[in-house]
């Protein structure tokens, strides 16, 4: 007879527990432009990101930073914020998830980072993520997303990706959230298995940069 209350307790707990945890919706929108930078040996040595924030978040983030009160935000005024950004991004793996030859590509500490504000004080964060270990030659993907989906990343419509110092025969393209998660046909089996095993909530909204070299 104790089953009644016990069952009730469990039902209530599971429901509330589950629902509270499923709470995810973005508050910040980021428009991404990325560049794959190649080393002399033809492997990718870094990912150069330029992330443009939505205007509401930009207004929040730049609060109190216009120290000379001229209404314009200089790179110097934004330097401290840029530093904080890259420092705290480490905890989130820079929201950048690289794969090459079926293995994770890990990234080192960001280099060359700065924030710039446009005429409407909309912020763009520039930073370069060096790869920690050399990825396989000629094949690499980078997903940019927030697994918990509090930040929404999407690639820019115009020139979303570029290659720097790439060897001949390399092409890169970007697939949006739906294509990236439903059309993995040109990826190796092991890659896809890896993705599935480690993917989290936000990954279905990931945009993927795919590099192919002949």
């Amino acid at each position: 007879m104790i089953r009644g209350p016990l069952k009730t307790a469990l039902t209530a707990a599971v429901l509330l527990f589950g629902t509270a945890a499923a709470n995810a919706h973005p508050h910040v929108w980021v428009t991404v432009k990325s560049e794959l930078v190649f080393a002399a040996d033809g492997t990718v040595e870094a990912v150069r990101h330029a992330w443009t924030f939505d205007e509401m978040f930009s207004a929040f983030a730049t609060q109190g930073l216009d120290t000379d009160k001229d209404g314009k935000l200089t790179r110097e005024e934004l330097a401290e914020l840029a530093q904080t950004n890259v420092d705290s991004l480490k905890e989130f793996g820079y929201f950048s998830f690289g794969k090459s030859g079926g293995k994770d590509v890990t990234f080192g500490e960001p280099k060359d980072y700065w924030l710039e504000a446009d005429k409407d004080n909309v912020l763009t964060l520039h930073f370069t993520l060096p790869v920690a270990a050399k990825p396989a030659k000629g094949e690499m993907t980078v997903d940019v997303y927030d697994p918990t989906w509090f930040v929404d990343f999407s690639f820019a419509e115009k020139d979303p990706v570029a290659l720097a110092n790439a060897p001949a025969g390399c092409t890169v393209d970007v697939k949006g959230p739906d294509e990236a998660s439903t059309a993995p046909t040109n990826l190796s089996e092991s890659f896809f298995n890896n993705l599935t095993a480690s993917s989290q909530f936000g990954s279905q909204f990931a945009s993927r940069v795919s590099l192919r070299c002949r």
């Binding site: 007879m1 508050h27 939505d54 509401m56 999407s154 739906d178 909204f205």
Partner: protein, 345 residues
């Protein structure tokens, strides 16, 4: 009510509670399983992409409305309407506030007026919290986003601690009541109710038509709406604790709207828009709270016909509600469930 006079009928009540839970779990924006379980693949039609695009559009409309309100004061009405919708839809996704209020209502005297009052008060406190944060920190002190983020973090720790303490107190009360009802059921004697157990003992004179005369231990009366329900000091104290525990942490959406309005030099329009948001939030949370109340009411009615066992089930349900409040607090304070986060600043 004869058909319900068996303990097994409690299962029916559970189903109803599950339905209520599912309704407030139904977040159109959250299609995946929690805790890193494999998310459902988006349908080929690109539903995920569509939801994304719609949300992004909505947020852009909100910021565009603030810009318009700057140029033309009458455009502010459009902004208020959008803010109201934002509050209503944003609150439709499950968040800790709704979970705590619903769990509290299940645990403690659940009535519809209490549910509405709690939801409205929590939404109002949350609006004030966001206005105070951006108003004092950004407008008066010229604080940075980082300082504001840290303030929010402290408010969070305070709020989550309050949720845990509140849940513990509630569990202590409800655990005792549960034990008493269990003992009463096993020994066949009616459970003695303690004087401080303010379980709506007033207004017994009206008939509920659910086997009241057999129900000697006065199990969980869930009355219809009446002002009397909002009285009772013990309840009020606990209700206020719930309101503060839920409302202290400002919502990120409100902070963003306020910060953007401030950057456009129309902070007061942002304040009004935050209140419009709170009205929307209050309505949605109240609907969820009412569902929790109705579910418990039905469970109580079913239990009323089933002698001691049903009573034990209801007390168990209340105790579970209190435990869920503690659980939510612990998960929130340890960061196992994130309430809200912006881009790291």
């Amino acid at each position: 009510m004869r058909i319900f006079r068996r303990p097994g009928a409690i299962v029916l009540a559970l189903v109803l509670i599950a339905v209520a839970g599912a309704v407030f779990a139904a977040d159109v924006f959250a299609q995946g399983a929690p805790f890193g379980a494999k998310p459902a693949a988006p349908p080929p039609s690109g539903f995920a992409g569509w939801v994304l695009a719609e949300q992004a559009k909505f947020f852009r409309a909100l910021s565009a409305a603030i810009r318009e309100a700057k140029a033309d004061g009458s455009a502010a009405y459009g902004l208020f309407w959008l803010s109201f919708l934002y509050g209503a839809f944003h609150a439709a996704g499950p968040g800790h506030g709704k979970a705590v209020i619903s769990a509290y209502l299940v645990a403690d005297g659940a009535t519809i007026p209490r549910g509405i009052a709690l939801s409205a008060a929590a939404a109002f406190v949350q609006a004030l919290s966001a206005i105070a944060l951006v108003g004092i920190a950004a407008l008066l002190l010229g604080a940075t986003a980082r300082a504001m983020g840290e303030t929010v973090r402290w408010l969070e720790i305070g709020a989550y601690t309050l949720i845990i303490v509140f849940g513990l107190l509630l569990a202590w009360r409800k655990g005792q009541a549960f034990l008493r009802s269990f003992v009463a059921w096993r020994t066949g004697k009616p459970a003695p109710e303690r004087a401080d157990h303010d379980h709506d003992h007033h207004a017994h004179d009206h008939s509920h038509g659910h086997g009241h005369d057999l129900d000697h231990d006065h199990c969980g009366h869930a009355h219809g709406p009446e002002l009397e329900d909002l009285k009772g000091r013990g309840w009020l104290k606990r209700g206020l604790a719930a309101v503060f525990a839920v409302g202290i942490r400002p919502c990120s959406g409100a902070i963003l709207v306020l910060a953007f309005a401030l950057s456009q030099g129309i902070f007061l329009v942002g304040v009004a828009s935050t209140f419009a948001m709170a009205v929307g939030t209050a309505i949605t949370v109240a609907v969820i709270a009412i569902l929790a109340v109705v579910a418990k009411d039905v469970a109580t009615r079913l239990a009323a016909g089933s002698n001691g066992a049903g009573m034990v089930a209801i007390r168990g349900l209340e105790f579970a509600g209190a435990l869920v409040v503690i659980l939510l607090g612990v998960l929130l304070i340890t960061g196992l469930i994130a309430s809200e986060r912006m881009f790291p600043v």
